[in-house]
């Protein structure tokens, strides 16, 4: 399972396909202050990246690569832990 919610943390892990975009959006709409944990995320589909750009949640960790970095550059970073 690629999307898990644990209190105020939404965790994306592994490969997150386009189908994750909608649940992620729903989750972020319901919990605008949630932190999104990407430490375990290997790849985010464009649609998922778009949702993150729209909702601009605090992020923990970033997936590797120039492209996700360019997409998520402006998003706040959550304190460790």
């Amino acid at each position: 399972m690629a999307l898990e919610q644990d209190g105020a943390t939404i965790r994306l892990t592994g490969h997150c396909p386009v189908e994750e975009a909608e649940p992620l959006l729903d989750a972020l709409r319901a919990a605008p202050d949630a932190t999104v944990d990407l430490t375990g995320a290997a790849w985010l589909h464009t649609a998922v990246l778009q949702v993150l750009m729209v909702a601009a949640p605090a992020l923990r960790g970033r997936p590797d690569g120039l492209v996700p970095a360019a997409c998520l550059a402006g998003l706040p970073i959550a304190e460790a832990g």
């Binding site: 975009a21 649940p23 992620l24 959006l25 649609a47 990246l49 120039l66 492209v67 360019a70």
Partner: protein, 861 residues
């Protein structure tokens, strides 16, 4: 005039593109000369017509496509999938241009560049005879203007990497996710990726309303790779990409406010000396030192950073240009060229030969063509006719010619049938006729062989004055809003006329005059007939064939399956079925979703199919047909189907149904749970072959349009989604039913029949009332219960009035207290206080002013 012509051109161009595109797909399936001819003619016509407008890039691109098709037609080039891709992409680009042309009346600013790239690719195949050599060597294009927006560090890294460099921008189209595209992934995999910028195409959509399945990003990317490699990498999205090879120098974009401090002048002098001396380390140190004392945001600061970064490696002239950017001095001693005043000697004005001059020249040109024409050999059958036509032309030219020339030709004409004499006289035009009036006409030896055609008395027969009338059917282009307004009036009229029926009744009651009532009813019948004809007529204007929606699918299926590595045969049936334009438009998006689902999750890979004992190639069937007042669309695949058990377990787990409900449900009912809101979003569904993804969205869209959707599936054999939509949205035929003294409307097209069922024939099966109708067991629902109206007073009746309704594929009997009348109404959506009411599709205003609630049966059962 031009605008009207353009307005005519745009739909015609679209149709031609459509014909060419679908022809191409047909051709890829099976080589047929006919399909090729059709494509060729469409492209050719587009080329010819586009020449009427100032849209040269479009004409050039279509021309290149045509040339390629000629090679294919002549058998010199095999139509490989890559070439089809190239041609389709070019047609897409032309389609995009047509869209722009429609709104702005000019091509987009980048059309010339985009055309050059595409034409180079098409011509590449032309020369090389195959895609392998289709390196699109687009000629030097200006570097894109967004280069400067890339981070400076990335640009400096790219400068250090050196050529070849490619800058490209990529705007994935809105629906690209439906085709399985992952633009970020594509960008990440690009060869030689050095840096990029990601931004919204327009603006970032707001969180509240954004649609997660639509794409809105733009990528601006810098790659250190040959342009061919990047082109190849982006070949499937080439229509969404602007690509330009750039030089390292293009990367030096200096931005920021100008700083005019004197210190820069000193630096400039020193820096030039250092460059000349080859003292690069000192140059770098000087630049760094200056950077330490000035603000970082200026243009000069940017130039200094570049100098610092490049001092060790860059060529001297590049450094000097940067120095110039700092102190503003000209790069060298380039002398400014004095403007050359074009004081040329006045050209002798053309001697005026009178107002007739252009026509005389034109006539001479036409006569020259006649001589040329007569020199071309012709078959015997045509020779007499052709000579006759030449004689007609020559005769008509006479009046525009110089008198001597006219006389000579007239003399030649007199020898009817003597082609040689005529040709000789015509040739005289080349050297002006001698002053002598007698033209040297060769003596004709023979007598005319052919019987001389009677010369029509000049000027040619007076044509009838009335030019109009018998022309071909001329189309009228009308703004849809006007038709919609007309439609609304027609619908209002249909409803308003119902008032007359009430009036007739009132007249009988109030005045007691049956005669007057009858007369009103007769008038009502006349108006009724006219109103219906009017409505049918207006509706016909808005009817469109389903093919308008279906036509995009061959391409979608082709592209999607190519990407998924699946083999799918698309079968389209009933595309001539017509439905209202609005209805069809409401269908477009859900249909894409369903087709996409079927390809993604329904149909298996060839290997899986073969292992399951099926043909490797799957079949996707899209069909449309009309049933009563509905249009039925089916999307059927022969894929792996949906396991009802899995859906049931999932539905139980997420609390969509209770175990009690589950116990009463049939397998096909489980399968239809995928439409339930929340089914797909609560959990990953790929384990259910993904059918749940967004299916509630599909159902919402269809229901909003007054239709319904359901799914049938057999595990291992495939699934079929059926969409039922009303043919038109405007007027609904309803029957009114009564429950506890209240009247409600029910759409006629959901009512199969009405029956009276004796109480004794109603049985209970599993806590549900049922009755038997012609060997079928039909469940019963009591409308009053469903609406929460409470028990009926008094004894239950001996017979129940039952309306048998079709809901999806099910039939359900609805017990009502009685049936009233049938009528046509405009159903308006619930709004205001009523907006949240479940169970009603809207309200309708009746002829007597009452408001009727119209039931939405699927909600109630």
């Amino acid at each position: 005039m031009t605008n009207a012509l353009l307005a005519q051109f745009i739909p015609e161009a679209r149709e031609l593109l459509e014909r060419a595109g679908s022809g191409m797909l047909a051709l890829e399936k099976s080589q047929s000369a006919e399909a090729l001819d059709e494509i060729f003619r469409a492209v050719h016509t587009l080329k010819g017509t586009s020449g009427l407008f100032d849209i040269a890039p479009l004409t050039h691109l279509v021309h290149a496509a045509e040339d390629l098709l000629v090679e294919v037609r002549d058998g010199k080039l095999a139509l490989e999938p890559e070439i089809v891709d190239g041609l389709l992409d070019s047609l897409d680009l032309v389609g995009h241009w047509i869209d722009v042309l429609e709104t702005r009346e000019v091509l987009p600013g980048d059309a010339e560049d985009a055309m050059a790239g595409r034409v180079a690719a098409l011509r590449g195949w032309l020369q090389a005879g195959g895609p392998a050599a289709a390196a699109s060597t687009a000629e030097s294009q200006p570097a894109p203007d967004w280069l400067g927006a890339l981070p400076e560090a990335e640009r400096q890294a790219a400068y250090a990497a050196g050529p070849p460099l490619v800058a490209w921008s990529y705007e994935p189209d809105e629906s690209c996710f439906f085709r399985g595209d992952d633009p970020a992934h594509l960008v990440a995999q690009a060869p030689g990726l050095l840096g990029l910028r990601v931004l919204p195409q327009a603006s970032v959509p707001p969180l509240e309303t954004c649609d997660p399945v639509l794409s809105w990003l733009r990528f601006e990317v810098l790659c250190a790779a040959p342009v061919e490699a990047v082109t190849e990498h982006l070949r499937y999205v080439s229509d969404q990409v602007q690509l330009s090879p750039i030089t390292p120098g293009d990367l030096i974009v200096l931005e920021g406010p100008e700083d005019a401090a004197e210190v820069f002048g000193d630096f400039g002098t020193r820096a030039r000396a250092l460059v000349a001396a080859g003292a690069r380390a000192e140059l770098k140190a000087a630049a760094s030192a200056l950077l330490g004392i000035i603000g970082p945001a200026t243009r000069q600061a940017a130039a200094l950073r570049w100098i610092a970064a490049l001092a060790a490696t860059a060529a001297a002239d590049a450094l000097l240009r940067l120095v110039c950017a700092i102190d503003g001095a000209p790069p060298g001693a380039a002398p400014t060229v004095p403007p050359v005043t074009a004081a040329a000697a006045p050209v002798a004005a053309p001697v005026s030969t009178g107002a007739e001059a252009p026509l005389r020249q034109r006539a001479e040109a036409i006569l020259a063509a006649q001589a040329e024409m007569l020199a071309v050999p012709v078959e015997a059958a045509q020779s007499a006719g052709r000579l006759e036509s030449v004689r007609t032309v020559v005769r008509r030219c006479l009046r525009y010619l110089a008198p001597t020339r006219a006389e000579a030709l007239n003399a030649a004409l007199a020898r009817s049938g003597d082609a040689a004499a005529l040709v000789a006289a015509l040739r005289q035009a080349e050297n002006p006729a001698p002053a002598a009036a007698t033209a040297p006409v060769p003596k004709a030896a023979q007598k005319p062989a052919a019987p001389a055609a009677p010369l029509p008395s000049a000027p040619a027969a007076e044509a009838s004055e009335s030019g109009a009338g018998a022309g071909p059917a001329r189309m009228l282009r009308v703004d849809q809003a006007k038709v919609d307004t007309l439609m609304n009036f027609a619908a209002e009229l249909v409803v308003a006329k119902n008032g007359l029926a009430y009036l007739a009744g009132r007249v009988e009651q109030v005045s007691g005059s049956r005669q007057l009532g009858r007369e009103i009813k007769e008038q009502y019948a006349v108006i009724d007939r006219i109103a219906q004809s009017l409505q049918v007529g207006v509706m016909a204007i808005r009817m469109m064939p389903v093919s308008q929606v279906f036509q995009r699918f061959p391409r979608l299926v082709r592209d999607t399956t190519r990407k998924l590595g699946k083999e799918v045969e698309l079968v389209i049936q009933g595309e001539d079925t017509e439905a209202d334009k609005n209805v069809l438009e409401s269908l477009a998006d859900p249909l894409i979703h369903m087709v996409r689902n079927a390809l993604d999750h329904g149909i298996e890979t060839p290997a899986e199919r073969v292992a399951a004992g099926k043909p490797a190639r799957g079949t996707l069937r899209l069909s449309a047909r009309q049933e009563n007042d509905n249009v039925i669309i089916e999307v059927a695949d022969d894929g792996k189907g949906i396991d009802p058990e899995v859906v049931r377990d999932k539905a139980l787990r997420v609390g969509l149904i209770t175990p009690e409900q589950a116990a009463q449900m049939a397998p096909e009912e489980f399968v239809n749970l995928v439409f339930a809101p929340g089914f797909s979003t609560k959990e990953q569904v790929s384990d259910l072959s993904g059918r749940g993804v967004g299916m509630d969205v599909v159902r919402n869209a269809v229901r909003k349009a007054g239709g319904d959707v359901w799914l049938a599936s057999r595990l291992g054999q495939g699934s079929c989604v059926t969409v039922q939509l009303p043919l038109t949205m405007a007027v609904t035929r309803i029957v009114t039913v009564e429950a506890r003294g209240q009247q409600y409307g029910v759409a006629m097209d959901t009512v199969a029949e009405t029956v009276r069922v004796p109480r004794g024939q109603i049985h209970r099966i599993k806590q549900r009332e049922t009755f038997v109708l012609r060997d079928a067991v039909i469940p019963l629902v009591r409308l009053a219960d469903s609406l929460g109206l409470g028990a009926a007073p008094g004894e239950p009746p001996e017979e129940e009035a039952v309306m048998v309704a079709r809901i999806g594929r099910e039939r359900v009997g609805i017990v009502v207290d009685g049936f009233r009348e049938r009528m046509e109404v405009i159903v308006r959506p619930l709004d205001g206080l009523l907006a949240g009411l479940v169970g009603f599709s809207g309200t309708a205003l009746l002829g007597d002013g009452r408001v009727l609630l119209v039931l939405n049966l699927p909600d109630l059962i």
